[in-house]
Symmetry: C2
Amino acid sequence: MVTHRVDFEPVGRRYACPRGTTLLEAARRAGVGIVSVCGGRGTCGHCRVRILDGLAPPPTGPEGEVFSAEELAAGYRLACQVEVLSDLRVHVPPTSLTTPQRIQVEGRELAVPLQPAVRCYKVALPPRAPQDLRPELTRLRDVLAREYGLERLAVDCRLLPRIPLRLQEWDGVANAVVRGGELIDLLPEGRAPLGLAVDLGTTKIAAHLVDLTTGETLEAGGVMNPQIAYGEDVIARIAHAMEGEEQAEELRQAAVGAVNDLAGELCALVGRARREIAEAVVVGNTAMHHLFLGLPVRQLGLAPYLAAVIDPLDLKARDVGLEIAPGGYAHLLPNIAGFVGADHVAMLLSTGIYRAEETVVGLDIGTNTEVVLRAGGRLIACSTASGPAFEGAHIRDGMRAAPGAIERLRITDTNVEYQTIDDAPPVGLCGSGILDAVAQLLKAGVLDERGSMGEHPRVRQGKDGPEFVLVAQGEGGDGREVVITRADVGEIQLAKGAMRAGVNILLDEAGLSAEDVDKIVIAGAFGTYVDVDSAVTVGMVPPLPLSRFVQVGNAAAIGAKLALISTEQRALAEEIARQVEYIELTNDPRFVGQFTEAMFLR
Amino acid sequence: MVTHRVDFEPVGRRYACPRGTTLLEAARRAGVGIVSVCGGRGTCGHCRVRILDGLAPPPTGPEGEVFSAEELAAGYRLACQVEVLSDLRVHVPPTSLTTPQRIQVEGRELAVPLQPAVRCYKVALPPRAPQDLRPELTRLRDVLAREYGLERLAVDCRLLPRIPLRLQEWDGVANAVVRGGELIDLLPEGRAPLGLAVDLGTTKIAAHLVDLTTGETLEAGGVMNPQIAYGEDVIARIAHAMEGEEQAEELRQAAVGAVNDLAGELCALVGRARREIAEAVVVGNTAMHHLFLGLPVRQLGLAPYLAAVIDPLDLKARDVGLEIAPGGYAHLLPNIAGFVGADHVAMLLSTGIYRAEETVVGLDIGTNTEVVLRAGGRLIACSTASGPAFEGAHIRDGMRAAPGAIERLRITDTNVEYQTIDDAPPVGLCGSGILDAVAQLLKAGVLDERGSMGEHPRVRQGKDGPEFVLVAQGEGGDGREVVITRADVGEIQLAKGAMRAGVNILLDEAGLSAEDVDKIVIAGAFGTYVDVDSAVTVGMVPPLPLSRFVQVGNAAAIGAKLALISTEQRALAEEIARQVEYIELTNDPRFVGQFTEAMFLR
C-alpha cells in the first residue's frame, strides 16, 4: 500500500496516510478536527484548507462553487474533496478547526525580532584557586561583568541562598538568567529560560509557553477561568469583590491558581518545570487585570468607570502569587480605560491594526466586546457589553464550546444540518451555532427583522413563546432535543446590537460610513469560530464583502507573546495605549439610538 | 533659690538645678547616669566630663591629679568636683555614662552630606477635570515626571492597591517616597519617610531611627539578640542552623522579629508608625548577616570559612520579613570575609579609619573581635575568637551589663571600691568590671604574669582553685557575694590574648611595631565601657600612652546610619570592603606563637 505524508499546519501534526484518502479523513485520523457540516459532500464549504506544498488533483465541481478562481490559484481547497496523491503540506485555518482544545490560543503572529527582557548568559567559572576566598556569587558576578559587560548586577533574594550549592553541583557551569540588571535565576547548562504569555479572559485563560532564547512557542493551551463560579461577567465579579477583602482575595487566588496550574501543565507537556519560567506577560480586560493583582475594583463598577491602574507594570511574580522562577517577573501590559484593557492593547499589537494605513475596524468579541477603529492615523476604541450569549449563557439550549455543542448549522427547507464539537451527539448550541441558527432562520424567512418567529413546520409554541426545534427528540442519535426560542433570538439581538452600535458610533466619530472600511478584523475565541456570513446576515457587522473580513483567533494571547519576546513591542504597547482615544458609550448621546437601530436583524 | 540650667550632651538632657549642686548630682537628677566608684570623693577619676560652655570654679586638688594641664585647659573636669555656678553646657563622654540603656547605640558620628537612597517629593494633584478619566496613579506619575523629572517611575506592587484611596482621602496632596526609580510609599503631607540603621550583633541588636529628609536620629535603642537562646556565639548558631531548614528558619525569624519589635518601639517613642520606615540598612558579622537572610552557613563553619555572599545587597524588606513600608527596602552593607562582616565595614566607615593618613589600629570588641590596621595606605584585617567572656559568659560571677553588675572597680589595700549599673546592690561582674578586676589584682600583686593568684587577705581556696572575694557576703548591702576565680582570670587571658595576637600579627604583616601606632580606636559595646588603663595593664592592647586611645562606642551602628543617609557612603563601604586585605588567622603560621605569648598578663 502506497502511503503519503501529510503535514498539517500550524497545528504541527504529521500523518502517513494511504494514497487516495481524502484530506478530511486524513486530518481526522491525524487528530486534527476539521469542521464539516455536510458530511463530506462538498456542499457546506466549511472544511477549507490551503495546500502549501505537494500535488493535488484538480478542483471538483463543489469547490468551483465555493472558491473564487483567485482562491483556487492560491491553493484553497475543501478537505473533503481532495484525495491525497503525494506528500502534502496543508495549512488548516483556525476557522476550519474543530479543535478538541476549544480554548483559543492560536492567532496570527507577526514576526518580530527576538529582544526579550530576560536574557540568558552561559557562564563557566574557572576552578577555584586555593587562595581565592571569594564566594561563588562574587566569582559569578565577576565572570558576568568581564565576559558580558554586566556590571553591578543585582541578585534576587530568593535566588541568593541557592547560588553556592548550584554552582558547586554544576562544577561552575550554568546559564545565568538576567533581567533588567538583576540575576533572577541559574539554570543548568543547556537549559533555556522559559516565558509564559497569558490571556486572562473573563471566561477562558489561554497561555503560550515560550523558549525565551528562540522566541518559539513550545506549547500552548487553556483552561476555564475558575472565577466563573463567582459570576459570569465582569460586573458580577466586581460585585463579588466589593463584598469584602476576603471575597476579592478568593477571586484573585482563583485566577492566579488557574494560571499556575496551566503553566505547570504546559511545562509538563514539554518536560520542563514551572520554576524554569523566568517571566510571565499577562493581559486581560481591566477588571480581570485588577482582580488578578488585588487592585480595588469598586470604581470600575461605577460611572465614570475609572481604572485604578492603566500604566504597564513590572512585578516580582511571587508578589502576585505566580509560582515560577525564584526571581521571576510578571509584566502586565497597560490598560486603556475602565472597560478597555490590556487584552485590547495586545490585540492591537499583534494584529498590526495600530499602524494600518487603511481604514480598519477591529472587534475583540467576548463577554465584553472591544471595538476599535483605525482611520486617518487615529485609533478610537469603545467597549460594548455584548454579554455572555455567545458563550452560550442566557440561551435556552446554550452551552460552552464543549463536545456535543452544535457549532455550525444550516437550514435547508425543513431539514437542519449541523456539525457538533468532536462529532458527539448534539446536546446544545455554542456561540457560533447560535449565530448560525439565527442567520439561517432569517434567511429561511422564519424570523423577521424584529426577531419575530413566523410559521414553519419546526416552529412550535413553547411555554415562553414560539421556539424552533433544531434537533427533535431522537433526530440526533442519543443526543437531546435542541431548540432556539424567540427569547434566545432576542439575546442575540441585544448582543449583536451592542457591537454594531459600537462600530457605528466609532465610524460616526471619524466621519466615516461602513463602506469606507477596508478591513474588519475579528478576534477572540468566539470570533475565531463565528461564521462571518452569518455575522453579516444578522447585522452584527456591516454588510461588506466577505473578503474584507479577517479572523485572527486569540490575538490578545499573541500580543502577550510578542510583548514577552520583545521589549520593543512592550514599548509599542505603551505607546498604543497612550494613543487610543477612548469613548465611553454609557455617556454617549448617540448610543441609545444606535443601539435600538442595530437590534434589527438586517 | 537661684537655679542654673545645665545641658548634658550628647544625650540631650537639660536640667535646672539649684546653685552649688555638684555636676554629678545634677546629672543624676536629670537622669543622666555618670560612673562614680569613689562616691564623689574625686579619687576614682571616673566621672570625667567636659565643660563646653559656662563658668566653672577652678579645679580641685583631686582633679589636678587626674588630669593633665592640657586636659584641664580643654575643659575636662570631674563631675563630682564641679559646683554649678552658672548655666553650663557639658559633654558627657560615653565612658563616663552608666546609661540605664546598656545597649550601645551611640558613637562618633561623622558629618556627611545628606544623600539618601530614599527621596521624598511633595505632590499636589490638581482637581480632577470631568473629562479626565486617568487613574490616580497615572495623574500622580504625570505630576512627578513634570515637576521633578521622575520619568517612567515604577510602583511597588504592595503600594499599588492603596494609591487611589489614599490620594482621594488626602485630596491629592501627599509625600511621594521614591527609591531608585520606584515609588515605594505615599505618606500624608508633612510626614517624612523614616529610615532604620541596624547593627545586628551576636549578643545585642542596636538601631537608630532616622528622619530621611534631615538625616537626624529621632530615637535610638537596642534589644538583646533573641538568637542567644540557640547558642551564645556564632559557631553555636551556625551549628544550630546546620541541623536543618527549620532550625535555620527559627534563627532567621528570631532576629527578624527582634528587629521588627525594636523598630516598632522606636517608632512608638516618637509617635510614628513602623510602616513609615522606607528603608533599613542592616550590618552584622558575616554569620549574623547570613542567618538574617536565610543564606547557607555550613561553609562559614568549615575551613576556609567562605562567606556565601559578600557583595552589598538591596532587597525588598518584605522578602526578608521586615515589616516596614509596603514597598520598603533593606540594604545590607558588604561583608569582607567569612569572619569579618559588614559591621566591620560600617565601623571602618564611621571611624574614618579607612582614610587615615596616620597608622591606626581598630578593635571592634565583641564575641568575635575584628582587628584592623591602617598603615601606609593599606587596610589589613583579621578576626579573633575573643569569646563571650567580656559579655560575662564563662565567668563564675559574670553577667551581662544589667542593674547590679559591677562595671568599674578599684582595689586599695584590702578594700574594693566599685560602681554598679544603676547603683543597684552588686550581683556580679560585667565585662568592664571583670577587666578592671584582673588589672587591679595584677597591679596589687595578687596576680602574676601567668595569671597565678598569690597571697591576699581576700584570696581563698575555692572548689576549683584560688579565688578573690571582691564583695563578701553582707559587704554589698542586700547584694550577693561576688568573686573572681583563677579560672576567670584564665578566660580573660584567652580573650585578651586572642585580640593582642591579632594586633601583633597585623603589625608584623605591615612590618611595624607597636610604637609605630599613632592611634588605637576601640569600638563596640564593651569597647565603650572598658577602662583603657585596665586594658593596657593586662596587655589586651599595646602599652601606648592613653592619649593615643579613642573609644568610639557602637561605630558599626553609626556606619549603618551613614550608609542609610548617604548613597555615597554606601559606595564607599563597597570600596572599603574591596580594599581590605583579609588575613585568616587559623591558617597563619604566626598565630600559635603570638597567641601563647599574648596570654601573659603584661
